[in-house]
Structure formats: structure tokens, C-alpha cells
């Protein structure tokens, strides 16, 4: 099984992190909109938004590393 198994590459990991960051970013905004307080961010939400942006940027930095195993 090990020889034919799919190994995650740096590029795949980067794409995964970008997707996770985007999902988190949209999720936080959506939750805020559902509560009816869109744009009125508290410190925890601001931190979470910054974190999701950071995750996306980290993912982007891995994309050029190509097919090396993560």
C-alpha cells in the first residue's frame, strides 16, 4: 500500500493551507453577517481574520516548492 499511496507535496500542502485560510476567512465574515454585526469586529474576530490571512500567505509561500514531499 505504501508504495502506491498518495504523498502530499509542498505544492499540495500550500494549496490546502490557502483553501483552509480562505474557508476560515469567509466563515468568520459569514458568522458575523448572520449575527447581524458585519464589520463590527471584536479583538478575537480580528485575530481570527488575521490568522486566516496568515495561513493563506503561508500556503502561497509553499506553492513554488513544487513536487517535493511535504
Amino acid at each position: 500500500m505504501g508504495t502506491t499511496d498518495l504523498v502530499i507535496t509542498k505544492r499540495m500542502l500550500g494549496a490546502l493551507l490557502i483553501a483552509l485560510g480562505a474557508l476560515a476567512f469567509i466563515g468568520i465574515l459569514l458568522l458575523d453577517a448572520l449575527r447581524g454585526t458585519l464589520g463590527d469586529f471584536g479583538p478575537a474576530q480580528a485575530l481570527a481574520l488575521a490568522g486566516s490571512l496568515g495561513l493563506g500567505l503561508l500556503g502561497a509561500s509553499l506553492l513554488p516548492l513544487g513536487d517535493r514531499p511535504a
Partner: protein, 549 residues
Amino acid sequence: MIGTLESARSAQRALLIAQRALLGIALLFMALHLAVYFVYAAHLIAFPFDYDQGEGFELNDTILLSQFQSPYRDNAVYPFYASNYPPLYHVILVPFAWLFGAEYWYGRLVSFVTTLITAAAIGYAVQRDTGQRIVALLSGCAFLASNYIYHIGPLFRQHISMIMLETLAVVVIAPLSQSARPRRLILLSLALLLAAGYTKQLAVATVAAVFIWLFLRGVRRAIAWAIPFAAIAGGLFLLIDWSTGGQWWLNIITANVNQYILGQYVGLLAQFVALHGALLLLAGLMLVYELYFDRLSVYSVWFVAAMLNTVLAGKWGAGDSYFATAIAAMCILAGIFAGRTLGNAWRLPRLLAGMQRAMPALSVAVCAAFVLYSAAVIKLPLDMPIFAQIAQLLGLQSNTKFPNFYDSAGWTMGYATLGQIPTAQDIANGWRIVEYAKADPRPILSEEAAFSFRSGKPVVTNPTQLLNLYNNNTAERTLYDPAALIAMIEARAFSAVILRREIGQTAIIGFYPPPVLAAIERAYTLHQAIPMNGYEYTVLLPSAERNLP
């Protein structure tokens, strides 16, 4: 030319001397930390009462299990008690309970031993990866030296056993790619993870880390192992929930959903970085190296997951112990970084090839990091021989609420105020409180179970559990109804109420839900306030003007 070579050689010699001197200083510091930790543990193991609020309730869980009773009970029914932790740590202690009865020493001894095993596992992981014995030794000691590990190491609490099981699980699976028997490693690691999760729920982050790492290394294999693991862990969970009539879910999941205090987390995170910064830097560099220039090790993935999990330290009732898993991961990564540097064992990519020349200087820097860390985490009892002289030499004075204890951590919200060595007066005062508990055959209502155990009475209530559930009551659902407990208080069914508060406070303060505290104020009168372990224990007796039942 000869002069240049000579000066280069003498510079290298100077760096080597500096490196060895720094390693020697770090080892000396670690020896001091170990001595302080062993003395602290020995005193705690001998201490006959709760040292940390909640220890007695874990002892009660052990006693209940030793009598084949479930600790996951209905909080609204006498004795209004339920545990909010999974049972494995308490199950392990059951044979001790059969042999020695309700005693604190064996739970604390087992916890202390688990910290030594964790430190040994950290050292072993570093030694296996780098072959650097001194660095391996320093890495293991660094775990024990942390103020946070020192705090909880020898307590009758399940948290540190979880850390041991998590660390062993990660160390076992780390060499998976080089193993001739990978299935065996995975099986053992997952068994340890299952045990960690059933010791404390917080282990879920390490479970996630191991599966994420397995996923990176082989998607199909990770999924193939995740399915049976989830089935066993989930099946066990459902079985316990079914056998306790839903009390398992209510008490270990619902009761742990508490108010989140961002300021508490930010304060603890700042303190954590200030204390552990030197080794965090090395661990961070190792993580970055693996992320961009090598494959991610399970240690790096674990470190990230554990750091993310520290966010939960902002929950009411949580604290510095929530950083303990991250500390174990940090010690391994920092140790591997230091070991590879000292052993000149880096496989540097072309981009970093120039770094090779800087290795001797970098070696000095990593040794200095261990010295800085050792100096940053100093905590000392100030009234014991040798330690008192060392404190004097270093110019350290008490900076805590205890006159004979120095703690470099200072204090922030959520940081447990303990670490001092209990005095003979503390023990004598504890027995004075027990005398009040013994004075009347009725049960007592105590925020700490020790006074019930020592007076041979049943343990009634787990106050923080009642408070957590009460705070989660909504208009639609009642998780805890204090009516029955309030009725007993108003009927003076308890011979004494024992609450804990900060010295200097005058109000009736406690961990009970507000209506319970209000009932206590109505039916009981403050009789005496007895100091113990830096707190004041208020002994309240039934109000004289009311009729006794």
C-alpha cells in the same frame, strides 16, 4: 597567510571553549532546576491535603472507581457530585486505592514519575535523531525545568499523565519511514493516543497532529487507520455515555464549555513566550527549516497543533497547564535543532550553503539559548538550605504571595498561584480544619475534598462542576438545578461549610453557583478563617438563631 590561518584557528578554539562553557553553565542550571523539582515533589507527595483545588475530586474519582461506582453521576442528586474528566488516570490508580485507601501521595507520585518518563522520552527522541547526548540530556531537563511543568508535575491531576502518553505516542511514530515494521509503530502510537484521550480530552490536538502527519506521508494509509481509530474511540465514548445515561456527555463535554477570556489567553501567551522564548526560537527555526527545506517531521506538526490548542487556555478554569504539550514538542524540536548544529549534521540546500561557515558561531548561540532558557525559568524556595544561599547569590527575593518562594514567571490571569513548599504550619492548620469537620456526625460541604476524606465523611459536591453547568443553563434547558442542594443547606444538613478565598477578602466567596452561595450565607455563619497554602479557609457553622433539623 600563516597568521590568518592561526587567527582563524584561535577563533575556532575560542568558539569551542565558549560552547563548552555555555553547555556546562546550562547543565549546572538544569541540575539546580532538577533539585528544586525533586524537593518540591517530595514535599507535595507528603502533604496530606489538597495542594491544588480539585486534586481531592480526582482522588474521589479514583475511590469511586475502586468501589466499582461511576464518577459520572447526576449532579442534582445527593451527593451532587460528578467528575469532569475521562477516567484512565483514575483507573490506573485504583490498585493503590485498594491497598492504601484515600491518600494523595500515590496520585502525586505517579504524576511525578510520568514527568520523568516524558523527559526521558524527549531526551531519547533528541538522542535518536542527533546522537548528541548532552543536548538530549538538556532537552529532557528543559521540559522538567519549565515553570508550567514544575507547577503541575507532582499533582494528583490527570493532565501530566496525558502529556506523557501524547509524547510517547509521537516519539514512537516519528521514525515510521525508516521502520521495517511500520504497522506495529502505528498501532502502538494510536493505542497511546487513545489512552491519552481517555486521560484528558485535550489530547485531541495530538491525535489530530499525528493523523495530519500520517496524511502528509500517505493519504490512503492515514484514512485506513483513521476509520478503525475513530470507530474504537467513538464506540468507547458512546458505550460510556450509554452506560451512564448521558451523564458522561454532560459532565465531560457540556460542563467544559466555559466562558472564554481573551485577556487571560493573551496574558498567558505573553508569559509563555517570555519564559520559553529562547527554546521557542530554536523550535521555530527547526519548523521553518522542515517546512521549506526538508520533510515535516511529526514533531513539527505536533508543535503547531499543540500551539494552536493553547488557545483553550483562555477558558475560565483553564490555565498555564494548557501549554504543557507545546512545551514537550518545543523541547524535542529545540533539542534536534541544537543537536544537528553542534554535530554539524545539517543537510543544507544550495541556498543556505553559506551557513556552513557560520556553524561554529551558531553552535555557541544554541548553547547560549539553553543557558538563557535555564535562567528565565528560575523558581526557588527561599527558606531552604543551599537554595537560600543560591537565591542570595542571585539576588532573588520573594515576588509571589508566598514569602519564601521566588518564581520568575510572575503572575498573570490563569497562572496557578502555587509552587511554594507547604510549611509545617500549613499542615497543622489543615488538621485544625479537619477538627471542625469531625465535630459533628453530619456531612460537610467543602470546596476541597480533603477535609471530607480526613474526617471520614462522604465527598459532597464538585463545586466548579456545578458552577460550570449552572452557568450553561438557558431558558430552554436546565443542565444543573441547585434546588435539592439549596434545600439541604437551608435545612442545615451539613455540619460545616468550608470555602476557600484569598487572604484579606472578607466576603463569602466560593466556586459554588451564586444561589448556592446565597443559601450558605442565609443558613451559615462564618466561624473561623484559617490560613493554609496562601489561602484562607473559611469555616462556616449553622447559624445559631435558626432551629437545627
